[in-house]
């Protein structure tokens, strides 16, 4: 049996006398009740009247309810905090529209501050509209804006017979003798606000104060190098203590719960050995958890609902497909994977849902057509009500219908945490529906935003039995007693906190009235009192701090005056287990740069024409990975058309253009107008060849501009072509094939020109950088044209890149003299001396040998990681597979 977390012995007589116990928070109330009940049960009682113990504010709220029933105050509908924030938000944005002189970046934040300011004023029984206070508020822009909003807010509440929770309390001081007077004990309540004071005076005949006996024995201060070391030490300490003395009650207070909870939870799991198998049995209670919208079950529900909107993202689609909570039985099928990869290839981060639906319905692979995802989306988009505005309660039921379509929460059983989250979700949906009280009709996206907001305000926290180890926030620990309490993060910078007055109440007034966070003095007094309480209530009080936070040195809090300094060594940065396993490792280095030769039967499986040889030349492993393993990186996301597709578009336009022109004679015959017409037609036709749907994805302007760009580029290019001697375009986009040893290569030549002597020039359009150096050496960087040169070697007059780049249009090539400017005939100067060739026939033979060798390498499975230059890796994208970065790492110390 765990030691008591609160000693109620001093309270027992008062409880028996029927006093109501009032606490600062629910946690202490629950704790006192639990202690009392345990005592009763231990004494052998079977049943007893539940004791009356509750937080002061809740009790006051109850008194208001009684007053309503007694018809002592007019009935009102109290709004929840969240609802009243919504009213504030509406009021502020209405005021904003009316004033039109400012536009707040975060009206929601202003709403929170305003709500807080109004509450504080009510708690301090101050009326900002009064003759004394009003001028103070009107002195500056922020406070006077608040006054305007306040008037509108109160008017709005009055019209709807609504009120806030504090409004209810504010009624109480006038209820002297209306309700039967109570006897109360204030337990561990250090300070009362003026309103609480007044209300208690009016309602109670007998008010007593108690606080725990002093049980503090020891105060220790532990410094650590940094926050991580500090959290690690706490976790280790808690686990050790728990192991040695399982009944010791341990409290851990995190100053910065929001930022440190995840890290501490992990570290506790590590120390308690609850990372793997025992994951569910961590004997620690956290006072808070993740917000409900982040719970996977709810997160996926919200994501599924969001598919009702017009737009989604590629990442969202992938997450849906991976969800355990949606009924998408074929999510892992080949056809679904094909869909994902196609979406990546399209390169758009944002997707239009209807477009996604169409693609997901139409996608095919093998026997399968369409995916469940497509059918779900189709059903969803078929709900006409999604486009109609409605009140939250109506949306709540629509949301259920929508989730029904998705088969949420899935077909697999839920674990107990998920089950709790599901219940939580249902409550939240009900809470959302209650926003009818303050909302107007909402569109789907507004309704979803509100629902998301409701979920964000819910905390999903695993319900676990009371554990001996509790992790709490600083205020939650107030009043509790542990055998050992450890407060983390007690740097001077945070304890006491800096003053943080509410900007909507004149700051001098706040300071004078001792309102919360108003001044450094007030913060000091508050933190000091809190620490005194910790010290009194806990047997051993540990405080720790980091000497450095984010690289900035920090002193310990000056509040820790009477602590004994206790240096603990910083725990090791990496777990011993890792180190130990690392030391035991045995790594082998296996030569593995050759795969089984390409079998004839699997030849058909090898894709790629000339690109294959380029890959083989650039890096044999790349060729192997792309063409035999069929591995490609998922496409990268771009804001416009991916570069590859842009290149294809230009190719198509040139294809169209020369299809129309045919030869140099007709080009030269064109006047400006005629050229303009023909160029425009080509550009237009090229764009028209792109499917409509795909065009829509980028918007009209993109294509309009792209067309203009292509026109300008074609014009510039024709300027280059006009300088050539006569030619006829003998072939465009010619498909051919070639046997290179065992390899059957499919080719697609951009263009073949026939010159007046009947010889040929093979032309490859390029929109990237190119140079004839790309054809040189043992491993040419761009071997395609060399490959093409083998198609009809005897009539070949030259090879050329048509480098079609804005402001840099030119031919780059090799061949006989006089074909075109840029096609060089001085082979001896161009050709790499290491190749030891002279003259065109020798060069052609050299190339043929090179290509034969590359093809042979590929076919025989030669696949070492061996990029020809460092630049080969720039656009490859396969680094995770080829592990080229590994060589940069220190070599393993032991090799088998």
């Amino acid at each position: 049996m765990a030691h008591s977390l609160y000693d109620i012995r001093p309270l027992e007589t008062l409880i028996e006398q029927g006093y109501t116990l009032l606490t600062p928070n629910f946690r202490l109330a629950r704790r006192i009740k639990a202690e009392w009940d345990a005592g009763q049960a231990a004494a052998g009682a079977r049943v007893w009247q539940a004791i009356s113990v509750l937080p002061l504010e809740a009790w006051l709220q109850q008194q208001w309810e009684h007053a309503v029933r007694a018809n002592a105050v007019p009935p009102m509908t109290p709004l929840s905090t969240h609802q009243s924030l919504e009213v504030w938000r509406q009021v502020i944005s209405e005021q904003q529209h009316a004033a039109a002189d400012f536009q707040l970046l975060r009206p929601a934040a202003a709403a929170e501050l305003a709500a807080q300011a109004r509450d504080t004023l009510l708690r301090w029984c101050l009326d900002p509209q009064s003759r004394q206070l009003r001028p103070l508020f009107e002195m500056d822009a922020d406070c006077s804006a608040f006054l305007r909003w306040l008037t509108a807010f109160e008017q709005r509440l009055a019209e709807c017979h609504q009120c806030t929770a504090i409004d209810c309390l504010a009624r109480l001081p006038q209820l002297d003798a209306v309700l039967p007077s109570s006897r109360v004990v204030l337990v561990e309540i250090e300070q009362l606000t003026p309103l609480q004071e007044a209300a208690l005076q009016a309602l109670c005949a007998d008010i007593r104060h108690t606080r725990a006996e002093h049980r503090g024995e020891q105060r220790l201060l532990h410094p650590f190098a940094d926050k991580r070391a500090e959290l690690q030490a706490v976790a280790r300490w808690a686990a050790g203590l728990h192991r040695d003395a399982p009944h010791t009650t341990i409290g851990i207070v995190l100053s910065d719960m929001a930022n440190d909870r995840v890290a501490l939870e992990y570290l506790l799991r590590r120390e308690f050995d609850c990372l793997g198998r025992n994951y569910a049995s961590l004997p620690v209670n956290f006072s808070t958890g993740i917000s409900l919208d982040q719970a996977p079950l709810v997160r996926d529900a919200l994501a599924a609902l969001a598919m009702g909107l017009r737009q989604t993202t590629l990442t969202a689609v992938e997450k849906l497909l991976g969800s355990r909570f949606l009924d998408l039985p074929d999510a892992q099928s080949a056809v679904a994977q094909r869909l994902v990869r196609r979406l990546y290839a399209q390169g758009r981060a944002d997707l239009v849902v209807s477009d996604l639906r169409d693609q997901a319905m139409a996608i095919q692979w093998g026997e399968a057509t369409g995916t469940t995802l497509g059918r779900r989306l189709d059903a969803l988009l078929a709900m006409p009500v999604l486009r109609r505005k409605a009140l939250p309660s109506v949306w709540a039921s629509r949301f259920c219908d929508m989730l029904g379509i998705w088969g949420w929460p899935g077909t697999q059983p839920l674990d107990s945490l998920e089950f709790q989250q599901l219940t939580r979700w249902q409550d939240t949906l009900a809470e959302f529906a209650a926003f009818d009280a303050v909302s107007k009709s909402l569109s789907l996206s507004e309704a979803l935003a509100l629902l998301r907001d409701c979920c964000r305000r819910q905390v999903s926290q695993p319900l676990t039995a009371d554990s001996t180890v509790q992790v709490l926030g600083p205020l939650e620990a107030a009043g509790l007693s542990f055998d050992q309490l450890w407060v983390c993060g007690m740097q001077g910078g945070g304890w006491p906190a800096s003053a943080n007055p509410n900007p909507f109440i004149p700051i001098a007034l706040q300071r004078q009235q001792l309102m919360p966070h108003a001044s450094p003095e007030r913060e000091w007094a508050f933190s000091d009192a809190l620490l005194q309480q910790y010290a009194r209530a806990n047997r051993v009080f540990h405080a720790s701090y980091s000497r450095e936070v984010d690289g900035v040195p920090e002193p310990p809090s000056a509040l820790l005056r009477d602590f004994t300094l206790h240096e603990m060594s910083d725990p090791p940065a990496i777990p011993d287990g890792w180190l130990e396993r690392h030391c035991r490792r045995s790594v082998e280095a296996v030569p593995d740069d050759r795969a089984t030769p390409l079998g004839l039967d699997s030849e058909s499986a090898v894709r790629g024409g000339s690109g294959l040889l380029e890959d083989q030349s650039q890096c044999p492993f790349r060729a192997f990975a792309r063409h035999r393993l069929q591995v490609e990186p998922l496409g990268t996301i771009s804001v416009a058309l991916p570069p590859g597709e842009r290149g294809a578009l230009l190719h198509e336009a040139l294809n169209m253009l020369w299809g129309e022109l045919g030869n140099s004679e007709s080009l030269l015959a064109l006047d400006d107008t005629a050229q303009a017409r023909i160029v425009e037609n080509a550009a237009r036709a090229a764009i028209a060849s792109i499917p409509r749907r795909q065009q829509r994805r980028l918007g009209r302007a993109y294509w309009r501009l792209e067309q203009q760009r292509i026109i300008a580029l074609l014009d510039e290019w024709l300027g280059v072509e006009r300088q050539r001697s006569a030619f006829v375009v003998a072939g465009r986009e010619c498909e051919m094939s070639l046997e290179l040893g065992q390899l059957h290569v499919r080719l697609r030549l951009d263009r073949i020109d026939q010159l007046s002597d009947g010889s040929h020039v093979i032309i490859d359009y390029k929109s990237g950088q190119c140079s004839v150096q790309d054809w040189m050496g043992h491993r040419p960087a761009q071997p395609q044209l060399l490959l093409y040169s083998m198609v009809e070697p005897d009539t070949l007059a030259g090879l050329a890149f048509a480098s079609i780049r804005p402001r840099e249009c030119r031919f780059v090539g090799l061949g006989r003299a006089g074909i075109a400017p840029g096609i060089r005939d001085d082979l001896d100067r161009v050709v790499d001396s290491a190749m030891a060739v002279s003259g065109w026939p020798q060069l052609q033979r050299y190339w043929e040998n090179t290509l034969q060798r590359l093809a042979h390498e590929f076919v025989t499975g030669y696949a070492p990681v061996d990029p020809v230059t460092a630049a080969s890796c720039t656009w490859c994208g396969l680094q995770a597979l080829c592990r080229i970065g590994e060589a940069a790492a220190p070599a393993p110390e032991s090799r088998a």
């Binding site: 079977r46 049943v47 009935p75 509908t77 975060r106 934040a109 202003a110 822009a141 804006a145 608040f146 995840v262 890290a263 793997g276 994951y279 993740i290 997160r299 992938e318 497909l321 991976g322 080949a334 094909r338 709540a396 059983p413 839920l414 249902q426 949906l429 209650a434 926003f435 009818d436 910078g493 900007p503 909507f504 001098a508 450094p520 900035v552 990496i574 287990g577 396993r581 690392h582 490792r585 045995s586 790594v587 082998e588 030569p591 593995d592 499986a605 192997f624 069929q630 490609e632 998922l634 416009a640 993109y702 501009l705 792209e706 760009r709 995770a880 597979l881 592990r883 940069a888 220190p890």
Partner: protein
């Protein structure tokens, strides 16, 4: 020790009645001075918050605060102090301490009272305090890196293209000009957004397009005429001769003969350029001769005379210091032609940028997050315009009386403006209260201004010094003592940098001159500065080896601090590689991005594979990684397994039986060992914390064994901590997020205890080391090519600040476009900054400075060639050259020659591969199917209000026959409170009233149930009970009482259910009582202990007004004494 030559300046700096601008070169002890003044001021204020100290970084703020506290503590404890400046500090601290006592500040304890802040946190504080004025509305998340938001703003701008927005035309024109390359323009606009404080005021939201155009025109005009005016002033003494020569030349060339020298308007530029041609050649050298083509024909008489005249004049002009530079500057001055492509681009941009800025605000709004620049801007906004300043003292609750700003040379324009706003009215105040003036202290060192790339503008420092703020003049104090470095180093720095820096300060060109320092420490080692140059083949390798030798020797020398400082990390990497080879321990924090660590690459890949089945690459890579290490052949088998390669997810393929059949034995064993790990990881998705999930998978795969070295395990830990952070921030497994963060985290290179520190020069600022080595001085940074946009701040000679921008118009580099002008300006500024960067590096050294470079020799003279103008060596070349040791090429020691290793497959040997995890308790905790969503909330609410209504009735002294209007109103409110409105509310209220009516009907069982005449009557009775299993339970009993007539204790539970269609009441009631028997039994057992009365249980059906007694729960009466 030399005397303190600047003692007078130091004491003036602490004078609380004066505002001062302190120029504090490296090593001059400026922090001490700041602290002294701060302490001095403390004794003059009412509240410590009234002194605002602004530092450059949070770390500097913490340090300053810490040192103030230390001084106060030392004064309190009266610890001994000996040096003169310590005694000064002590005396000031003692005075501050007595002020502290007098006012009860408790400064030593309550450190939050120190108003020592970075500019960012000060601005953030202002916006928090003024949510409406700053237009934030309240706390906003401030992010260091908001580049994704910038990109989003640009994309939002792009969507305007299809919406016929007026800006679409400008955007289209720009896109077309840049080849419709959306990505590229986006990248560019993103970088402009990141620096928008520089242009926002000029092309910001408030300017109409026409205004923007005339504004830019005027700016260019001023810029040109400023230069012309300066030139004509220089030439004024020679104007007569010049005019005569110009007339002669024009006459001969058949051009209009000028009657006077050109004026100084922008349109006079061409005439000046003609004049220039008489004096210097096209290339910019002084002319040696003048000929017919310049209008000076050969011949005797006047021709000869004029030539002589020309020669005389030229001799005189060559004497003028900056004249040649000014004349040549004429060639790069921009000439604006309104219809120029380049000018049109500028106009398009000036119209587009305000819209872009507005889009960014919308994006900020959507994400509720902003950048620091927005915070500063909003803070300025909150402080109000000059004609309507915000009452700051009222908002802060204190008047800022004194401001101290450190590192003023790194000030950007927003900071400058902020200071301007904070000091409004100070001049007037000081005139009225000379005895209690408000004061300002700015401290900086123009020579250490190295953050130009971030928008810092050293010109602002010069300007503040000259002009002061709002009538507060600053007394300029120049510190000269250097307490840090030995005399040898100080002397060398004086010599080298006097030459390297410009000769004079120039506010408008952001130039500072060098001010020499006086060493306080005597000379020790000679020479203190070593310069080494290497040449010939493998000079670079030799240089690195030399550095290695130097470091090795230093380490033997003893415990001195040693640092190698590089301009960028690429300058340090060869050194690191070499130190690794030599086994010299080093520490290189923050040098290599974590993303490059091989173990992190594998982990990231594991994450990708677990996140997406479609990521074939990630899955293949997973199988190739050391934990599995499949060979190429086995990978091939996997690639073709399954029915539909390449679309079969590898995960499915891995489980195919035929695959296992086809694999090699080794491959099969390897695959089998990781299969269960991956299966488990997939099952645990979303069930474990993110970090635990990935870590467990990694451990299962044998991750720790795969790490090449212990340091890599630290990289793993860093990566996994990043996942924790992703979870804490709610980002989840978001690869973009991860990639961005990874870039900002650093690998563990070297060991923290390493004796040698490797740092970039920027990082070294503010530090000192006994020995400093700066290698590779000859290496120029990678050229930044032609940026498609350039912009710059500009100050006119009249002190008016303005802004210029230009887009790459694809013009030739020497054409006089605005773009080329800005490009030239930028290059010059970069050169100046490079000089300052080297100064920062050189002044880090306490005892020894080693500079090394690789040079090339001139083939004919055999002398080293001057290095590129962009490298660090360039500015100090003269000094370096004179004293350098030129090291001849030598063969490299064998250790320095890199060996190209073969690249085998590295993998865990089978024996150390993952043992398949012990068969886990596979049985999932099955809770069964979830209940249907309880959206029928309405019934629940109605039921609750019915309970409440019945309770209210039961509490009435006399039971009414019908509900009154006040009750009805209350119940309506209660329903509303639970969230019912509209039709639903009316239906629910009707149900409630119907139930109440049923209960109140004369003679109904309801009236008996609710009768207040019963004994021990309770409604909604909370009890705590120990149930049959021994656990404590809370229960609430709807109604409980003892019937006087029968003496029975009744336990009644209210139920709102109704019989199904066609169901008889009896059947219905039997069914319901079976359903609730368990619950009732708990109630019965509980109340049974309260008295000896026999207990009877019943259900009261509120919708029917009928009571049903559950006889099955009746118990025999207890005999007295039995329990």
């Amino acid at each position: 020790m030399t005397g303190i030559v600047d003692a007078a300046e130091r004491s003036a700096a602490v004078n609380p009645l004066a505002s001062v601008c302190v120029s504090a070169p490296a090593g001059s002890g400026k922090t001490e001075l700041l602290i002294q003044r701060y302490l001095r001021l403390l004794s003059r204020v009412q509240r410590p918050e009234q002194i605002l100290a602004i530092t450059f970084t949070r770390k500097a703020a913490a340090e300053m605060r810490e040192r103030v506290i230390q001084a106060l503590q030392a004064a309190r404890d009266n610890t001994p102090c000996d040096s003169p400046h310590q005694r000064v500090t002590r005396a000031l601290a003692a005075r501050a301490l007595s002020a502290d006592h007098q006012h009860g500040w408790q400064l030593v304890e309550n450190i939050s009272r120190f108003n020592i802040k970075t500019i960012d946190s000060f601005c953030a504080g202002l916006t928090r305090q003024m949510p409406v004025l700053s237009q934030f509305g309240g706390a906003v998340a401030i992010h260091d890196d908001v580049s994704p938001l910038y990109a989003e703003a640009v994309q939002a701008l792009y969507t305007l293209l299809d919406e016929e927005h007026p800006v679409a035309r400008d955007l289209e024109a720009l896109l077309l000009h840049f080849d419709n390359n959306w990505e590229r323009l986006q990248a560019l606009l993103v970088s402009m957004l990141a620096r928008r404080e520089q242009w926002r005021d000029y092309v910001g939201l408030h300017h109409a397009p026409q205004e923007a155009e005339s504004y830019l025109m005027a700016t260019v005009g001023t810029l040109v005429s400023d230069d012309l005016r300066a030139l004509s002033q220089v030439l004024a003494p020679y104007s007569e001769e010049l005019l005569a020569l110009a007339r002669f030349s024009a006459g001969n060339l058949g051009e209009p003969v000028p009657s006077q020298l050109p004026g100084t308007d922008a349109e006079d530029l061409a005439s000046w350029q003609k004049l220039r041609a008489l004096l210097v050649t096209k290339k910019g050298d002084w002319r040696r001769k003048i000929t017919k083509s310049e209008g000076f024909p050969a011949g005797r008489g006047e021709a000869q005379q004029r030539k002589l005249q020309w020669q005389e004049l030229l001799v005189q002009l060559q004497e003028i210091d900056t004249l040649q530079q000014r004349l040549n500057g004429l060639q790069s001055l921009p000439v604006i032609q309104a219809d120029d492509v380049s000018w049109q681009l500028v106009l398009h941009l000036s119209r587009l940028l305000p819209i872009l800025a507005a889009q960014l605000l919308l994006v900020f709004q959507q994400h509720a997050a902003v950048d620091h620049s927005q915070v500063a801007q909003s803070a300025l906004l909150a402080l109000g315009e000059d004609d309507a300043p915000t009452e700051l003292a009222l908002r802060l609750d204190y008047q800022i009386e004194h401001i101290l700003v450190d590192e003023f040379q790194d000030t950007a324009i927003t900071q400058y403006e902020l200071l301007h706003k904070l000091t409004r009215g100070w001049g007037e105040h000081n005139e009225l209260h000379p005895e209690a003036p408000r004061t300002l202290m700015i401290v900086g060192d123009g020579m250490q201004s190295i953050y130009g790339f971030r928008g810092a503008n050293v010109g602002l420092f010069l300007r503040a010094r000259q002009e002061g703020f709002n009538g507060v003049a600053l007394q300029f104090l120049e510190l000269r003592c250097n307490f840090r470095s030995d005399k040898g180093i100080v002397d060398w720095v004086n010599e080298a940098f006097t030459l390297a820096f410009p000769a004079a300060d120039d506010v408008y060109r952001s130039q500072v001159r060098y001010s020499p320092a006086t060493a306080v420490r005597p000379a020790q080692r000679s020479p203190a500065v070593t310069a080494c140059a290497f040449h010939g083949d493998s000079a670079r390798e030799r240089e690195i080896v030399f550095i290695g030798e130097q470091l090795a020797a230093c380490l033997d020398d003893g415990n001195e601090t040693i640092a190698v400082l590089g301009r960028s990390r690429s300058h340090l990497q060869p050194v690191i590689k070499h130190l690794k080879q030599r086994g010299i321990p080093y520490n290189a924090p923050d040098l290599d991005s974590l993303a490059e660590s091989p173990v992190v690459v594998d982990l990231l890949n594991l994450c990708r594979a677990l996140a997406s089945d479609a990521d074939r690459l990630a899955w293949m890579a997973l199988l190739r990684a050391p934990w599995c290490g499949l060979t190429l052949d086995d990978l091939l088998c996997v690639a073709v397994a399954g029915e539909s390669p390449p679309y079969t997810p590898i995960w499915s393929a891995m489980q195919q039986a035929d695959l296992h059949h086809n694999l090699s034995d080794d491959g099969r064993a390897r695959l089998s060992s990781i299969l269960p790990v991956l299966r488990q990881a997939r099952e645990k998705r979303d069930r474990l914390g993110l970090r635990a999930w990935i870590e467990q998978a990694w451990l299962g795969l044998g991750g720790p064994q795969c790490a090449p070295a212990v340091e890599s395990l630290h990289d793993v830990e860093s990566f996994l901590q990043l996942l924790e952070q992703a979870e804490a921030e709610g980002a989840g497994l978001d690869f973009e997020w991860l990639q961005r963060r990874l870039q900002k985290c650093f690998m563990n290179t070297g060991s923290a205890g390493g004796a040698v520190q490797l740092l970039t020069l920027h990082k070294a600022k503010g530090l000192e080391f006994d020995r400093v080595i700066i290698p590779q001085l000859d290496r120029a940074p990678r050229s930044d090519g032609r940026d498609i946009l350039l912009w710059d701040e500009h100050s006119s000679a009249g002190g008016v600040r303005s802004f210029l921008l230009a887009a790459d118009d694809h013009s030739a580099a020497d054409s006089p476009t605005l773009y080329n002008y800005l490009r030239l300006q930028r290059r010059q500024k970069q050169q100046l900054e490079a000089t300052r960067l080297l100064y920062v590096g050189a002044t880090r050294a306490v005892r020894q400075l080693v500079l090394t470079a690789s040079v090339s020799l001139d083939a004919t003279s055999g002398l080293p060639r001057a290095p590129s103008s962009q490298c660090l060596l360039h500015p100090v070349w003269q000094t370096f050259c004179r004293q350098m040791t030129l090291v001849d090429p030598l063969p490299l020691p064998p250790s320095a020659v890199a060996v190209q290793a073969a690249r085998p497959l590295l993998r865990l040997s089978r024996s150390s591969q993952a043992e398949p995890p012990a068969a886990q308790a596979q049985a999932q905790e099955a809770v069964g199917q979830p209940p249907p969503p309880a959206i029928n909330n309405r019934e629940r609410i109605t039921g609750r209000v019915v309970h409440r209504a019945l309770e209210e009735l039961a509490l009435m002294r006399a039971l009414p026959t019908a509900a009154g209007t006040t009750e009805r109103r209350r119940w309506r409110m209660a329903l509303q409170r639970e969230g019912l409105y509209g039709a639903a509310l009316e239906t629910a209220l009707a149900t409630v009233l119907q139930c109440v009516d049923m209960a109140l009907q004369a003679g109904s069982s309801g009236r008996w149930v609710l009768d207040s005449g019963h004994v021990e009557a309770h409604c909604e009775w909370p009890l705590t009970t120990v149930d049959s299993t021994g656990s404590i339970r809370d229960i609430v009993i709807d109604r409980c009482f003892i019937d006087r007539a029968t003496g029975l204790r009744w336990v009644i539970d209210y139920k709102s259910s109704r019989p199904a269609e066609g169901e008889s009441f009896e059947d219905f009631a039997t069914r319901e009582s079976a359903l609730y028997a368990g619950q009732l039994q708990v109630y019965r057992d509980a109340v049974r202990c309260l008295g000896n009365q026999p207990v009877r249980c019943a259900l009261f059906f509120t919708a029917l007004g009928r009571l049903y007694i559950v006889n099955t729960l009746d118990l025999p009466e207890l005999k007295p004494g039995e329990k």
